[in-house]
Symmetry: C2
Subunit: 545 residues, 2 copies
Amino acid sequence: MIKKAKYATAEEMAAAQREISVAEFFAKNRHLLGFDNPAKAVLTTVREAVDNSLDACEEAGILPEIHVEITPVAAKKEGQQLLLEGGNGKKQKGFGGADRLIVSVQDNGPGIVKEQIPKIFGKLLYGSKFHRLRMSRGQQGIGISAAALYSQLTTGQQATITSRTGGRSKPHRFRVGIDLAKNAPEARDAEIGEKEEVPQGTKVVLEIEGRYQKHGKSVDEYLKETAVANPHARFVFKDPDGNVTTHERASKELPPPAKEIKPHPYGVELGVLINMMRDTSSRTVKGFLQTDFSRVSPDKAGEILKHAGISEGYHPKTIARDQADRLYEGIQQTKLMAPPTDCLAPIGEKQLVDGLKKEFEAEFYTSTTRPPDVYRGNPFQIEAALAYGGKLPAEEPAQVLRFANRVPLLYQAGACAISKAVAATSWRNYNLQQPKGSPPIGPLVIVVHMASVWVPFTSEAKEAIASYEEILKEIKLALQECGRRVGIHVNKSRRAEDEARKRSYIDMYLPHIGIALQQILKLSDSEREKTCGNLKSILEKTRKV
Amino acid sequence: MIKKAKYATAEEMAAAQREISVAEFFAKNRHLLGFDNPAKAVLTTVREAVDNSLDACEEAGILPEIHVEITPVAAKKEGQQLLLEGGNGKKQKGFGGADRLIVSVQDNGPGIVKEQIPKIFGKLLYGSKFHRLRMSRGQQGIGISAAALYSQLTTGQQATITSRTGGRSKPHRFRVGIDLAKNAPEARDAEIGEKEEVPQGTKVVLEIEGRYQKHGKSVDEYLKETAVANPHARFVFKDPDGNVTTHERASKELPPPAKEIKPHPYGVELGVLINMMRDTSSRTVKGFLQTDFSRVSPDKAGEILKHAGISEGYHPKTIARDQADRLYEGIQQTKLMAPPTDCLAPIGEKQLVDGLKKEFEAEFYTSTTRPPDVYRGNPFQIEAALAYGGKLPAEEPAQVLRFANRVPLLYQAGACAISKAVAATSWRNYNLQQPKGSPPIGPLVIVVHMASVWVPFTSEAKEAIASYEEILKEIKLALQECGRRVGIHVNKSRRAEDEARKRSYIDMYLPHIGIALQQILKLSDSEREKTCGNLKSILEKTRKV
């Protein structure tokens, strides 16, 4: 067969091979990062900036105060039509319908040192949180640089970052863009006005294409829920119409600082184990096991090595692959303590209820913090809270607020372990209506929080928690605990309602009975009054009211 | 306030900042790539290798012949228990229950030149398909290196790649691993036995932790569906029990080679436009518009620039941001032809039916290939096919086979535009049962294929197509077209059935009527016979049988 020119040879194919920068990749796939549509893009941008601010404040021991502002730039025409001609001859709805908005987030945090600003905002996959096992809102090193990338893609504008690390330090301001092909920052100094007062903290300003919406999965809802899960933080939000909403603190207590832990041996895969042995500074495999993992005492290290048939003094770097394999098996055969859990900082039962009270008017609140548990070697802890009755809508499905490391999750509810656990709980046991496989119906708000050193999200956009068996189970247990208490309350208040209704019947009908008795028995008015009084006290006594 | 030691300063935080390699990122988030559980991991591994083989064969003009083999290495104990002690005092279900398997995929393709092998298999985000707009199965430069990464993580083994670019070239073999921290290949030559015969093509061997399953979302199902969408390819599969399944070709015709196109101006975002102007080799903005985009004639380029208020001779590299902004707006205001669509290679109506016939025994087949359309500037084309009746199960929901660029999609059906369009089509109009919001019930197989230069997947694992309005609409139109034909067939075969039933009634009751008439009218036997004969021919004539 004669090869035709239109086909390629192996050499021609090789010439086309190229490296793809992670910035290019996510620019073409920005829906993976939560920037699929203009409304969601606004929310994602605010969320990434606020998450970083909260993390930084807490890490520095500062009570967070965060100002969010969204300002319109220039409105485009709604639903702009693109003017496709030819092809199959029809016009197409354009990608318009979005506005240009300026999103600004300012905090009172520790600030960012000058040298780090370009990389933090102008490089994807860069950060301090990925390589450690420590509870924080950010964990991937993608969030805020993804927002800057989105800004650059849609408006061509660079991010403006102003930061000051303290009253004695000089403030500095950068304009930061991203070189897509290199995934590297393009930064330049920007001026700070002579008379401009820059307080300690960081301010991020991004111009993006987006659509602000007041309701549903909105910035307003995100901040409201963030206030519930972070009662120690204060938020001020100014929307594009100039309306200002403030969420005051409900508590002046900072969450305890999160501790970093080492990986638990059970959570480490063979390939990672091999990598760790290559990188360790320990000079014996026994020392390596003790130093680089949590919960491995000298005894346990010895036991693992005995199972593996490897001598203790071996240098980790000389371990061959089949020995690593035996070491891995040795770990699985050794009984080890569960990972330490003091690295977790749950919101706390009281704080959860305080947060709920602040944002929802109900008549009954309850909460629980479960003991920590472990999935794939990662410690985690589930909390739940319920608000019932009062002004909550009585005939609608319960509102479910989902949180991961204190961050509200607004999208992808269907894919989330929390939604699945809510639907799988038998709310009828707690005197609530529930259509099969759905959340309960009634005046109810359900809050679930997962705290972990590594939350298993189902996508880079961090919108839903993956359904590990252990996680599902703990969520269900927390919901059951709160559900029982609500059930008792529902029962009690139903009985009280019945009681009140019955008593009002007595008050309503007794005078009529009195008049009837008066006529039948020919009583005087005073005899009638007396009889009615006696009857009432007898009725009330028998009813024990 | 005195700062306590447990809190960090901006300087301390800065010291913890680090770059995260994309290999590290996906190692920690491997569920994003389709490696969330042992069964899916096997399928994903096979799929990535087979997709690459098919792409390479077609690009080189070779009729693909692909051999897939899965061999067990050593079975671990099912559901191995990890021995957690302490903590909350309970034992935990381990991450066991998986086997070690060797997955081998061999093709008769063009082979890979020696220098490229390490990077293709040992570096994530590397490839020839990301930077071009051309229809192919792979598009992200992640797939096969992700499989190699998974192999290394779970078994510590490197991938083995043997390749030969032709009978005259020397074969070569590499063992390739990934340096996680650098996202760089670690490759070494491996020996080829002196007497070993290496045919032209590429063979990939990966040792992974996985679980082979015969049914459901299995390698068997994947290969069966791939055979439907690729009737020009031959597949031979040997499962871990040694059973061999062969899917013979139904056609010796290769799909026409896919053409590469330039981006359409409507599909380019402002930030990308700015980037393109920076990178272009054109020396005037007018030349840039004509050269770097499709569907921009000199006239149209002039019109765009007039709308933008930019003179034609401007050097693209000197365009300022606000001018770029005007240029972007100018593009939106100019009427342009839809993108070229000869870059798309649909499977074809005949080939689709041939493929279906090969794998499903039905009584009626139909298919349609829609004219190409455009979403976000990307040309795409929808095809659908239906198989009805015969041995297909009559009382179950229709089986829906989803394809993107000829690759079957087995997971995440709920998130896919194809499933949504199937449920949104009114199958009752075509004489089929359909529960509300569900696929139809009946002996039906539904095939939908989307061909595009860029398929918008909802995740890196490429399991579902995002629900762009234009895509949904085209799928529905294709389904309706096929649906109508099936409806006519269903109707006809119901009428034929009714007819046959009625005719059998004539045959059954006529003799009895004859006897009755004989008694009433005192007919002889021959008179009776004659009368019955007349009656039958009259009845059949009026019924036009």
